[in-house]
């Protein structure tokens, strides 16, 4: 083998065949560890993970945070031969202006899915998570992911994501504390499994994941709440101190090939960020109910990065929630 590549990646987000293909093409041996939230990935990298991984796949806001923390390496101009393949709308995002650290991976949304066999009311409201009807109490799974839960909660309350208004923050805290009583569990990696198995009737989930759940249990329906929902773009970033920097760049180039990144979308059921991929994509993706919000849906919102002082309060609210 011509060296190694160590990827730090979300769980169930990379088709094994694609890595095999990469290895076949380059002779590079790939090792992959997985995480289940942006925050967990950050924590683990800071707790000794740096220097052991080459690339990671943070969501939009986390790219900004990691860059701010100095965890990301800069990809020099011309290093990526396929950089031109990046779709125009993702070529210069606010979280990584000029794409100096990252390339697009997948984009999608986060809200929740409902088993309509267990609940036949209107599902397009965040009330199902934060103010559920009695019949759903104790059958709700939340993602174990601070950014997404707090963002969705802010949408539910109709307040800004990085509010510094004490009244709003206290209300948010109280609302979450009240809602928690109805939740069965915090779990990201089993988000699909609990819905499919019926252990949960409502589960916070990503759209593609929800599509996969629906394939196994067709009464599962992804919700687009009128209050709005979270949207995100995951990106492959080059980590500082990458033990195999060169291979990491090769990998990024590999993922910028439309055929390759399409394989991810076909597998994970999310959107992609390169141009010229249409011919490789599963046509069913275009009509996925999970990717096509109804007219009633609220606006999609990216997770925002708060300043340190504000973030401290949100961290405290999250801590209160988890305890």
């Amino acid at each position: 083998a011509d060296g190694d590549l160590v990827i730090y990646h979300w769980f169930e987000y990379m088709p094994a065949e694609l890595l095999e293909k990469f290895t076949a093409e380059t002779g590079i041996n790939v090792t992959m560890d997985t995480y289940d939230s942006n925050e967990a990935m950050l924590a683990s990298l800071k707790a000794g993970g740096m220097g052991t991984y080459d690339v990671a796949v943070p969501g939009d806001y986390m790219v900004a945070i990691m860059a701010g923390e100095g965890l990301l390496d800069t990809i020099a101009d011309g290093e990526l031969s396929n950089k031109g393949n990046i779709a125009a709308e993702w070529a210069d995002p606010s979280f990584d202006p000029g794409r100096t650290h990252s390339i697009p991976y997948q984009w999608g949304s986060t809200s929740f899915a409902v088993d309509t066999a267990a609940y036949d009311g209107d599902i397009n409201t965040t009330d199902l998570l934060f103010n559920p009807p009695a019949e759903l109490a104790g059958k709700i799974n939340m993602l174990d992911s601070q950014g997404e839960v707090m963002a969705l909660a802010s949408l539910h309350m109709g307040i800004p994501q990085c509010s510094s208004d004490r009244a709003q923050l206290s209300a948010l805290n109280d609302m979450l504390q009240g809602a928690k009583a109805n939740w069965a569990s915090f779990n990201s990696d089993t988000a699909r499994e609990v819905l499919v198995s019926g252990d949960a009737s409502v589960g916070m989930i990503y759209d593609g994941f929800s599509a996969k759940a629906r394939a196994e249990r067709d009464t599962i329906k992804y919700a687009f709440p009128t209050q709005g929902y979270v949207v995100w773009m995951d990106n492959v970033v080059l980590l500082n101190d990458a033990p195999n920097r060169e291979n990491a760049v090769k990998f990024m180039d590999f993922l910028l090939e439309p055929e390759n990144i399409s394989a991810v979308s076909n597998y994970a059921r999310y959107g992609l960020g390169v141009s010229g991929a249409e011919e490789f994509l599963d046509p069913a993706l275009a009509t996925l109910p999970e990717a096509n919000p109804p007219a009633t849906a609220g606006a999609g919102a990216f997770i925002e990065v708060c300043d340190q002082e504000t973030q401290a309060v949100y961290d405290q609210i999250w801590t209160n929630l988890k305890n």
């Binding site: 160590v6 769980f11 094994a16 993970g49 052991t52 699909r192 499994e193 198995s197």
Partner: protein
Amino acid sequence: MSDNTDVKTYAGFKAMTVLCLVILYAPLAVVTIYSFNASASITVWEGLSLRWYVDVFVGPESAKFQKAAINSFSIAIIAATAATAIATAAATAIVRGGKYKLRTPSLGLITLPIMVPEIVLAVATLIFFNSVGFTRGYMTILVAHIAFCIPFAYLPIQARMQGIEDTYEHAAMDLYATRAQAFRRILLPLMMPGIISGFLLAFIVSLDDFIITNFVKGAGIETLPTAIFGSVKQGLKPNIMAISTMLLGLSIVMVTISYFVSKTDNTK
């Protein structure tokens, strides 16, 4: 003997024992049974099949589990061997070293890893490796395992050694053996069952460890428990049940060996 005269027995205790065994074995039995389920879903029973055992070896996750198994076993063998050697030396010093100031602190240090809650030890080790700048990887898992396996190897060895009266060594020396000869010819053979159970204990504990390994493992290095944990986080899958059942079988074999070894006397 009737309950009337037998002052030792209490009615109902037997039932409790049976209950206790049911509680202990029910989950394992259920997993074992379901590992033979032909269905891809853990919720439906579709008849007997070895499908998931095959899957463990050739299925999509087989490479991951094979690597994890190799890591687990190589770490367990090295760690248990090192821990057993260290523990044997320490037990000799503590049980046969007379009275001295360092004796109690040494005993304390050796048993420290079992007194400190595992999560604390895991965190401490993580912080430590981080603060001294050790890159986490195979080696960090290995040294951590050697360290926390020591008490598990030590306790059976010490117990065995305490059961061996020192008159045996005295008799050997009385019969013109040097200290080293007395150790090799007399003490070591007599201690062997203790050493073997110490090794097996350390081996299993290492093979079993999740929390500490999870904290100190490096990128991409999995042991069976962390690999299994990674998988079950996304839901219990039949292939995990198959792996669990195989590990269960292995554990049973190991304990059985250790049980018979500790019972065998090389004295009969």
